[in-house]
Amino acid sequence: MDGLISFFASHHAIRAEAVLKRNGLAAQLIPGPKDLSPNCGVALRFDYAMRENVLPLLAAKNVRFEGVHFYRPRTDDWNRFQAECR
């Protein structure tokens, strides 16, 4: 999942997660990266390639979002690093 949607409030983030999951799309709530957006405590990871599908779904449910970002957090190599340490 290399996409990230930022929101103005967790109200929208929680609703967006439900919309994506209901439509069979991968979605994961994570702590909002403040380097991308100062606004929301929680953001939603999703497949960036699916953005053309995702945004109309959110619009149809009146879920407001702040921005859609290409996002690969460093945490993705945390598991690899952990495995190497063992």
């Binding site: 994570i30 702590p31 909002g32 990266p33 403040k34 380097d35 100062p38 405590g41 953005r51 945004l55 407001r64 979002f65 702040e66 921005g67 859609v68 970002h69 290409f70 996002y71 690969r72 957090p73 460093r74 945490t75 993705d76 190599d77 945390w78 690899r80 690093f81 952990q82 340490c85």
Partner: protein, 397 residues
């Protein structure tokens, strides 16, 4: 699971809190003051017992000077909106939470002048700087007791003394300290203390209150039915009814009362000693982690039950995600609703990771937290294997 987010809300609550709420639903169940039947009286007893426990905790000799609110923000708004009028001048500090800053910024647009006294880089306000900022038309001093970002304790006795000397009411924001740090309203001589019920006091969310010194009158935030003085269409002026319009959060107050009695039983000094020990242990361990930067006083005696830090090579949200998913540790990351405090500490805009300890945390949990941070800091110091961001495009709604 390890819960280090007690400054957001404390967890777990003492079992007596749940029992008291269950008892309200199952047995007391009525609405105080409204009806006078035995269930209404039982509910009124629960409310007054909770009020008395709070008066005990804060050494207020008259429980009627404590009014219940829905949270700390509600209490702060009651105090600020009840006192401030156009033409007034307010003194505050650069470490305030948005629950003080946002109402003050709103009042600025209505003709209230606000002076924000800059704090030291570790988040403390110098009483002398406050004294120098006092003007002949200053009508309120409002400061936090302890910063929700860095944990820094303010010199509240000195601040209260100088406010008294200058004949300015002093509003203390005790959201982060009530139930964690001893507060004696008589000894301090403070005029207003706003507190929340669900943090250090260990009660349920949706509870809080405001202590109002005898002789100080506030305009009510809301007017309405109080179950008293029912023949009149004018809001009663006596406390606590003047500020308790509408049915109270009775189940919440039942839980809060049990929580405060728990704190009284343990003893506020013992609570403070336990939390200070955990913070001291955390700080000592964190000092030894290469790549970890601590903010605030970095001294357990000078801070409440929380500490903020960053780790080189990883942003706070990444650290928070790993803590949650790999270690089962709940921490708060980012900006903690206090932009001016982050600017003071030099942590704006990416913020910090915050550990906040509660009565139920143990030294063994703190050690597990330190071990997690050691591993994360070691990892963050290595070269990243995935390019962090190739910002192809960003769409903004």
């Amino acid at each position: 699971m390890i819960y280090f987010d007690n400054a957001a809300t404390s967890w777990p609550k003492p079992p007596a809190v749940r029992a008291a709420m269950d008892e309200y639903f199952g047995e007391a169940g009525g609405n105080p003051g409204r009806s006078g039947h035995r269930m209404s009286v039982a509910a009124a007893r629960i409310v007054e017992r909770a009020r008395e426990a709070l008066a005990d905790l804060f050494s207020a000799n008259d429980p009627s000077r404590i009014v219940f609110t829905h949270n700390g923000t509600h209490a702060l708004n009651l105090a600020l909106q009840g006192l401030l009028r156009p033409g007034d001048h307010v003194l505050t500090t650069s470490m305030e939470h948005n629950s003080v800053m946002r109402p003050l910024r709103h009042f600025e647009g209505l003709g209230v002048e606000v002076t924000v006294v800059a704090c030291t880089p570790d988040g403390r306000v110098d009483p002398e700087a406050v004294r120098r900022a006092v003007r002949h038309d200053t009508s309120l001093l409002v400061t936090t007791h302890a910063s929700n970002v860095a944990g820094t304790l303010n010199p509240v006795a000195d601040l209260a003394a100088l406010a008294r000397e200058a004949k300015i009411p002093y509003l203390l924001d005790a959201s982060q300290t009530a139930g964690s740090i001893p507060i004696d309203v008589q000894a301090l001589g403070v005029d207003l203390v706003a507190f929340t019920g669900h943090k250090g006091l260990l009660g349920p969310t949706g509870t809080g209150g405001l202590y109002i010194r005898e002789g100080l009158a506030l305009a009510p935030l809301m007017r309405g039915g109080t179950g008293s003085d029912s023949a009149h269409e004018i809001q009663p002026e006596f406390l606590p009814d003047a500020h308790e319009s509408g049915t109270l959060n009775l189940a919440g107050i039942a839980g809060l009362g049990a929580a405060v009695r728990f704190v009284l039983e343990v003893g506020i000094e013992a609570v403070r000693a336990h939390k200070q020990k955990l913070i001291a242990q955390f700080l000592a361990g964190a000092f030894g982690i290469s790549g970890l930067t601590l903010y605030g006083p970095r001294n357990a005696a000078l801070q409440c039950d929380l500490a903020s830090f960053t780790i080189d090579g990883a942003v706070p949200s990444e650290v928070g995600l790993i803590l949650d998913q790999s270690f089962g540790i709940m921490a708060r990351t980012g900006l903690h609703c206090a932009p001016s405090a982050h600017r003071t500490l030099g942590t704006f805009p990416t913020g910090t990771v915050r550990f906040s300890f509660g009565w139920f945390n143990t030294p063994a949990e703190v050690e597990k937290g330190l071990e997690a941070l050691r591993q994360i800091a070691a990892w963050a110091a290595t070269e990243a294997t995935v390019p962090r961001q190739e910002a192809v495009e960003t769409w903004t709604a």
